[in-house]
Symmetry: D3
Subunit: 238 residues, 6 copies
């Protein structure tokens, strides 16, 4: 039995509220149960310097967590003076995932920065950031299309992410913190709207897993991402 | 005429929603018009080291702003690797203001950390942080009292803050960004529930002001803080 | 009775010695009692980048304190690897104050950097930095005028600063360290030669103050700044 | 055809030379083709502070690359003043992988630090670091066993890692830099001596991959790791 | 002919004024021509941690330069966020030199920190710092002896330093900036009161020097340090 | 008797292996007994900015040490976040020494960066870095000459370095760690192929030395550097 009472293949309740930050070119607040992430997209006129005169655009992401998003307070990274290895790893992952769903040539020489700030954490913040970050990206690109700044849609497909893991010996979908902190194996799966894989990260600390378990988790992830993509569509009124 | 259509002595619509962060000992989301600040209070069992064995407690604050809280994106301070001078100045001010309303001896050897994170900015974020931060502090102290960890209430009085300034030659209350960015003189006033002053900061860049204007702004601030304290009481169900 | 034996409205002995740094475009050593600050002005041909092609100049300030300027040694900020929040707050204040007395259009696209280094501290270092910094600025601008690099004087008026506070229940002028460290309320007032206000900062940690006290301190500050401006004139041979 | 002329399932020539650093408790130089990594193990008497009085030990890793290990010179991280996100991600991965093969209770309250320094890079440095790092770890643990400091072997199994990817549309094993820099999908697989999985990381930037490709790469990785583990055994004279 | 008109073996005018910083346990302002360095000594009750329970004391030094001590303004190291390599090299040299003249066992488990801050620079600041730093150290130790905190004098001998170099083909003593910036070879010599050597640093950038020149410079340095030690004695009233 | 059994004037066995880093324009592994340093030279098309349009080139050096190059592990400087004062001092010395042997005008507007990374340390790492760094520099310059990018050889002479010191009262050549850590006086001598001096650094911590000892060490150094230069020639096949 899962701590939350969910079935093995159940997602937590998902809600995606768009247009929550008045200054951003795109924004949403995504809630996966008690995990709440505020995502915004900022359009910058110039690409990063390594893409100057390449004809290509860039999508990048930054990730942060409010100090008291978690059960005990974390030190504020701005006060510490650097982003932790974990933070950097997560924001590199978000950026890589979103870029995989974008035609950077169609985007043209500009950059879209996705900020994902965790207001409250209960496991799965990186996956929620990707799923919500894609919605913010979609909205910002819609603005570029509407204003005629770009003519063909650079977004190739939806991108969504979900965690799966082996909890108490069973494969479960969308781990919350109570599960995540004790799971033997824990993975993040990033998929497209067409069900193709963008990134798979499975990791075992102090234990190992088998090929069969890997496939089982992938099955859960495919179903989970399909639901998340439906939620993205609903939020966007598609 | 003010850009927002408000009268000279009008506050923006104020709302204070409590209990918005499930992990924090106290929290609220304060909105002053389009300025939105999430405030949380964390109770730590130990005071800072300089107060060890002093019998006294401490209240401190940290301040942050989401990169896209503003019209154009600001660089994330955690990524830059340090808090700006402005951020440090503001968080020192918040901490000083809240401590002025606390009997640190009654608080005992513990620390309460107030985190103020600006989700959306439209002027007056430091004042909103103080007014909202006090509500979070009040809720956290209530928990300490309810659990019997402390016996006499260390909170001496309400603390609230408001900005005033000289905009287009006239003294106005609670400047929004449109006003703040062009005001000749601009001040922050921090007052108690009994109308006593905790801090006055008036500043003119590229212009000067007179004694009379100083008094005029103080009049506006007294009225404004009284309204904010009423909002604090309402939010706390007093 | 004040620790130094001064009357409530007495400044400490003030001396301003000019031309003390042979390389600087303007310099002075200001002594307010046992507080000694070395101030220099450096003229830079270019304004900061945000003013490029604006036709406007800039005045900025940096503040430092020798490690053993104080009773117990402070860690050297260069060795710590960053300027403290207090240092940043002070240098921002000095720059803002001096800019308020300058016509940045008449100054033209250049920058003047005022360095204020405290050789010995006994309270009131930020105020001494402003009063002395203005003298260094005046001397540097005189050089620009003498050489014909600028034609109309960009300096609008004298700028001077003094601290006042409530010590042992009484309003006193120009607090020394013995007073400052125990004062209930403590303020800094920056005024022009014509007696207009540039900045007022009053602050109470662990106590509060009234409107009447605020006005009392302002009265002291007006008299104090008038004396300081007379000292500036004398130092400059006006 | 692969740039190196290798077959799809071929590893590069592997060599593992032990005992190359006279001061370290364990060390080896691992060469996978032109990728050369110097690995050392240091035994520390105390575990990290979060494990004090837990009865558990810790294995951690640090990763570095000489500035001219690569085709064009990289800035020295010590001179830049921080480790890049990539470096931190890699050293976290190495540590996590090695810990998965260790019984931390049998290790007892001590820490083993694995340093992996890339002398020359031609793709696959993180995998070589894990495979070589395990050999250094094994040698250091042997010393602890030989001296009687620990009595039961805390090493549960071999740990080895290899990269696989989709290059020019085909699944290939052990990518060198020429392949890695153009591969559509690229993954790292960490396995034990018994063929269990410790970590799988598959990533596509600007493209996607299918379930079938994921399984194909896993097949290659299983064969590759088996060969690497044979090389570890040979190097250790088992 | 030297730019200053001095003879080859002439020092610049030297003055050492003691007791210039009221808070420090020892202090002096040393002037060697237009090079002015403020030196202070701070006594700390504890030695650095690596000497705990060793019975030995420590003498260390920190060095700084005001931003406008030089002809063009240098960036403030505290603002840059680190001490330059040059600064660190100099302060390590000062500390090493002063320790060579101290019996650390007689000093006992305490630390004396020498701060050397260059108010104005015209070449030779590191040598002036050593010569002046020794005076500050002597005064602080006198205090420890006077108060009975230590009983036998830990100072073994005077320590003084002077630069010499090859300027325009000739060996000259005590280079000023005009000479230093064009000298082919340039050295710093640190000697004791008895004429023994503590440190010799000779360096040629873009040229070389011979054994004979090395000996010639040493001759000049011996005479120069003897004069400096006489000046130390005079300043101390010996 | 020396710990290693060497005679007073004996170098340790020296070996210089060239071409050890396939990406670098020049490289060698220099071994002086158990001190092993990997040296590489990187040619950069542009000089540092302060030499733009000067017609002059630059040679600079960076120095590092693997964490476990030494008997106990040192913290990785990249992880600490800055290079130590010792590291900076050493790399400044290496750069200065190599530049003294180069005609920067013949080199033209480019920069050569010498990286010296200590794989294993047993005393004398800075001297080995200079001797080996010069070989890497020579090889890189040979490439520039071979390709016709420069026409006249900018290398004026060999540069080599050796340490000498007073160990157990006797002057010895090429100190190893066992000697270095207890030597009263310790020096580094950098000489050219023609026997001219580039840099002399002699230092005594807690003791002093005489003129005669200085000359004795210089005699040893001249003989030692002559042998090292012979080893450089042999390694280069001259």
């Amino acid at each position: 039995m899962r701590p939350s009472g969910r079935q093995l293949g159940d997602l937590r309740p998902v809600s995606i509220e768009t247009g929550v930050m008045k200054h951003a070119e795109g924004s949403c607040l995504i809630r996966m149960g008690e995990t709440h992430v505020l995502c915004s997209a900022t359009i910058e006129d110039k690409p990063p310097s390594f893409l100057k005169n390449s004809g290509l655009g860039w999508v990048t992401a930054e990730y942060g967590m409010l100090p008291r998003a978690t059960n005990s307070r974390n030190r504020r990274e701005a006060a510490v003076g650097k982003q932790s290895g974990r933070t950097q790893e997560i924001q590199r992952l978000i950026g890589r995932a979103l870029r995989a769903g974008v035609d950077r040539s169609a985007l043209g020489e500009r950059q879209i920065v996705i900020d994902c700030d965790v207001l409250q954490a209960d496991g799965g913040t990186r996956c929620a950031s990707i799923t919500g970050g894609w919605v913010a990206l979609r909205l910002a690109v819609n603005k570029l299309l509407a204003s005629g700044q770009i003519v063909s849609d650079p977004i190739l497909d939806h991108v969504a992410a979900v965690s799966c893991g082996i909890y108490a010996g069973q494969s479960v979908l969308d781990l919350d913190y109570a599960e995540d902190s004790t799971a033997g194996t824990d993975g993040n799966f990033i998929l497209t709207g067409r069900g193709k894989l963008i990134e798979v990260q499975m990791s075992a600390e102090g234990s190992t897993f088998s090929r069969d378990q890997m496939v089982e988790l992938l099955d859960l992830a495919e179903a989970g991402c399909a639901s998340l993509i439906a939620a993205q569509k609903a939020a966007l009124g598609q």
